[in-house]
């Protein structure tokens, strides 16, 4: 009974501020805000930078997760710890670190400059900052997924003449796909909501979390609310849709 009470309190703690914000905002205000070009641009920017960061970094993150799930190697514990690092360090500090890493003076920055790309204040820089703080979610989910694939199945595929490459793509990846997909969704969601690291690397162009902060700083609470509500609604709708699509696909895989 006491557990139920405590549990309800936690739920209330999460829901009350959000509900308060929604109740203080009229649908008319939200519609009004949604028509502003500045708001629409920022939402679009947030979505595509996070998506791009997730997809680009997944190319390396998924194979790394496979190695972590399957291979034993020296300092594996250390590697696992390093992967979790972005989750535990303050994100503004992460942003500062990244800024040094991608600025014009850095090696990466110079490479970027050579092709006319300046990461600072550029969507590419935003995507990197988002990916930095959210990549652990993908790696950990994918690692769990690969660990859940029976080694026996991979061995069977090898004895059936498949190369290691083919085993990965036809056996390991499809069987771990459920976890990987949920990792991708998580990484995407975490990237979208990132503020601290992004604001250091790129105040402009403005992603929505930065826009919310700016409106709050410049005009106050009342002006920051409608865009917050709008962004939350869009995020929620998107994740419900993604989850649903993921479930559809997996359901088909198991039963079909």
């Amino acid at each position: 009974m006491i557990f139920l009470l405590l549990g309800s309190l936690v739920l209330l703690f999460i829901l009350a501020p959000l509900a308060g914000m929604f109740l203080n905002t009229t649908p008319a205000q939200v519609f009004e805000t949604a028509r502003e070009a500045e708001v629409r641009d920022s939402i679009w920017l947030t979505l595509y930078t996070s998506l791009a960061g997730t997809l680009v970094f997944s190319v390396a993150a998924i194979p790394l997760a496979y190695l972590l799930a399957r291979k034993k190697f020296p300092l594996k514990k250390l590697v696992t710890g390093i992967i979790d690092l972005p989750v535990v360090i303050p994100h503004s500090a992460a942003g500062i670190a990244l800024l040094g890493f991608v600025s014009r003076e850095s090696a990466l920055g110079k490479m970027g400059s050579a092709v006319g790309l300046n990461f600072v204040g550029h969507p590419a820089g935003i995507a990197i900052a988002m990916a930095f703080v959210s990549i652990p979610y993908l790696i950990n989910a994918a690692r769990d997924g690969f660990a859940g694939v029976p080694v026996r199945l991979e061995k069977a595929a090898l004895t059936l003449g498949a190369s290691s490459f083919r085993v990965f793509f036809t056996i390991s990846l499809p069987l771990a796909w459920r976890n990987i997909l949920s990792g991708l969704i998580l990484m995407f969601a975490r990237g979208m909501s990132e503020f601290g690291a992004v604001i250091v690397v790129a105040y402009h162009p403005m992603i929505t979390p930065v826009l919310i902060y700016e409106r709050f700083g410049a005009f106050g609470l009342k002006y920051a609310r409608p865009v917050s509500v709008l962004f939350i609604l869009i995020s929620l709708a998107l994740f419900v849709l993604l989850r649903w699509l993921a479930k559809e696909k997996n359901g088909e895989m198991v039963n079909g």
């Binding site: 004895t159 059936l160 056996i171 499809p174």
Partner: protein, 351 residues
Amino acid sequence: MRLELRNISKRFVDFSLKNVSFSVEQGEYFILLGESGSGKSMVLETIAGLVVPDSGTILFDGRDITSEKIQKRKIGLVFQDHAVFPHLTVGENIAFSLHGTAIGKEAKHARVKNIANELGIGELLTRKPGSLSGGELQRVALGRTLIQQPGILLLDEPLSSLDTRLKNDLRRLLRAFHRKGQTILHVTHDYEEALSLGTRIAVIDNGTIVQTGTPSEVFNRPKSEFVAHFIGVKNFFAAKLVTKNQATFAYTCNNTAVRIVTDVPDGEGFILIRGEDIILSRIPVETSATNNFQGRVVEIVPNTGGMYVTIEAGIELHALITRESCEKLGLEPGKTCYVHFKATAVKFINK
């Protein structure tokens, strides 16, 4: 396609294979018999290339394949509990190894269909493994491996998860493939399976091969205490099952007729009688047992369970009786005695 293992050794954390040597001749049905944890699955994985031995040589078809790539060995391995890919259909599972080969789509499909029909799963090609029974899954695993036309088929406990009826069906299937010329190396812990299928048997214990020979050699002359104990049956004879006037008799090689109750159809096989099921008497007595023989005591050997009395009664029978009974009957080598056992105590294993 002869397979030979020479002094294969491999250390694992808590287990090792020690100087494993044996050879499987072309067309043989070779059984590797051992308890779980004896290293028999490890031997198969070593032959397939999934495990690299620390020392020793594996020869296949005259070539040294010890460090050959797994994909190039032409060795088929069917895993214990089948390892059918759950996300692919039965057809896709069976066709898995045909990927990247020069065979056309039509021909590929025909081969899948062919092997599936042979295995009795032709109707299941579009189904997903999740909806199949254990016996069907084992057939899918077999088909998936056999379609590669492996030089040798390695089977890891293929029947252990099946019930008796399915076991018999699958045994029949395996025999049929063997008869068609498929060389098979089959790993099991079940001596009945070994007798029923094997043309030659190797017994493995704790990572070492302790005896190799024909079923009769291994079962009648176990070389070590372990083999004798593991097999556990002292009375073992090659026999032919014949049913006459609704009574079934098993004829041993010297034509001793043993009355038997079984639902196995007539044919060649082995009979087994547990030493505990044999009753001895000094005078001919009337009992409900249908098998009654007169014989002579050859030998009496003390055993942990009592006394093993060996009697020559046309066939050499070993009875396990208590020390007390042995003294009461006054049994001694050379003395005449009578042997009784019920027809239901005789077990027949068909070939």
